[in-house]
Symmetry: C2
Subunit: 299 residues, 2 copies
């Protein structure tokens, strides 16, 4: 199903970075046949490999739509604990021809030290990624930043009406960094973790303070998503989609305000009820018109 967007009072003008659904590189028309056997052409998101290097070391190949490879690489390394804030990033080089991005640091990173130790003992670091993620949470407590329900409603309304690859082609996730009722940076990707990593990379590159920010995502609130948000230092995470038991548990442990199933006037607060200021009657929340209604995240 193709959705087109009406002209709206340019919600994109508020953004520092907004999706660019018209970018030729991000979608492709694919031919198929519908249920009646009639030929159809459908705008589909691209998906391409991007291999991320940390100095001379190949770290991972991510599947991505291909925009902001520099932010994706920086954010991925940061969120995996392979790059601390203190690491001296001296360059990020993207080579489009060979789909690689190299993040260069002035000195060896903590990850490289860890990896060498690990390599000596077990030969491979595949299994350490998860352990490292949980490691960063020990003793972490997020700032008890208040959140207004009127902001949540306003954000959802603006974000859903913003022209995006989702509205253009579907099969994609969105993550938006917000402040108060203003969406700042709206990233999309085939993997929801990539979208979050691109936001993290932008924050690292720009030196953004996370303490007064809100992260909005179209994806489910799993443990990984909650851990990433907490590690990024962002005290509030909101989503249209559902959540897992462990995601809720971790949010409560680190003091993250967690809002799920946010659709139209409805939402559920799973953690941080004491920091949520209910300043708007849900009956007065902006309506979701059907055209802009998301389907709760796309696979």
């Amino acid at each position: 199903m193709q959705l087109t967007t009406d002209p709206v009072p340019d919600p994109a003008s508020d953004y520092l970075i907004a999706p660019d659904p018209t970018a030729a590189r991000l979608t492709r028309r694919v031919a198929g046949h519908d249920e009646h056997g009639q030929p159809v052409e459908i705008a589909v998101v691209e998906e391409r490999p991007l291999t991320i290097f940390l100095n001379s070391r190949e770290i991972v190949t991510a599947m991505t739509i291909g925009d902001y490879p520099d932010y994706l690489a920086l954010g991925f390394l940061k969120n995996q604990g392979m790059l601390s804030g203190a690491d001296d990033v001296v360059g990020v080089d993207y080579d489009e021809d060979i789909d690689t991005v190299v993040v260069r640091t002035a000195s060896q990173t903590t990850y490289e030290e860890k990896l060498e130790k690990k390599t000596r003992t077990s030969g491979c670091a595949v299994g350490t990624v998860f352990g490292d993620m949980m490691e960063g949470l020990e003793g972490l407590t997020l700032p008890a930043t208040p959140v207004r329900s009127s902001w949540l409603y306003a954000l959802a309304h603006k974000i859903n009406r913003t022209p995006s690859l989702y509205l253009e082609a579907g099969a994609i996730h969105g993550t938006v960094l917000c402040q108060g009722d203003r969406p700042l940076v709206y990233m999309e990707d085939v993997g929801r973790h990539n979208a979050v990593d691109k936001v993290a990379g932008w924050m690292l590159a720009e030196g953004i303070d996370p303490a007064d920010k809100i992260l909005y995502t179209t994806g489910r609130l799993t443990s990984e998503m909650v851990i990433k948000t907490a590690q990024m230092g962002i005290p509030t995470l909101a989503s249209r989609s559902g959540f897992t038991a462990w995601g809720v548990e971790i949010a409560q442990e680190v003091g993250l305000t967690l809002i799920g199933r946010m659709k139209g006037q409805r939402f559920t607060c799973l953690s941080g009820e004491d920091r949520l200021i209910r300043d708007m009657d849900p009956a007065h929340a902006p309506r979701e018109d059907k055209k802009h209604r998301r389907k709760g995240g796309e696979g």
Copy 2:
């Protein structure tokens, strides 16, 4: 939102393995507050770590709902190319207390050989997983098995009405191995790849011929999903959700019949039109009643 299922003429009786939404271990009631500040309790899927070992080597920690850890481990290793069909699996030991599963082979696997070579040159195998996946596709051509549109409609209808964790708690993906119009094995998991891996593990354990099977998934048809299906030797992949350009391209290359956006009477055939027998007028397809309508995959 909680959905309950009407008594139906037991669609689960057809299955060899069907979801067990009543299993106490798979869901938990989580407390929260709704948009009016009223306390609510919601059934939420569990998510727990499972660390997979191949012999003495720790391979990965997956986040899973926790059912069928043996099939998940076998299927993961198989789908990552770390275990070939010829490898002599002598045991799969699951230890619930420490969330680990160990797959034991009689002799060293090809993966272990590869890893040792790799370790000598670059010190780590993180970056090879993707390369190994693509490697398995070279020269692969799937059998040109015909598929009837009446099967697709019947499968979607049966699967959507099957009692599942999705209908009970949401925030989960389903993957179903089917034969003709009969769903055989219906796996669910927080990660859609886990659900596919559990199907693959069951097929490996039972020695199932993939040539006449159909894989149905609630998730998007990304390159990874298409590659996995092709490596499993299954010639048809169908989904309610959308698809990426590269997913379509790979399907065409390996001769996989790819059906996307299958909802109600509608679907799009992206690859394998010549193998699709349109034996049912879409107007006669079973209706999706609203209660059983999926939301196109959950985040």
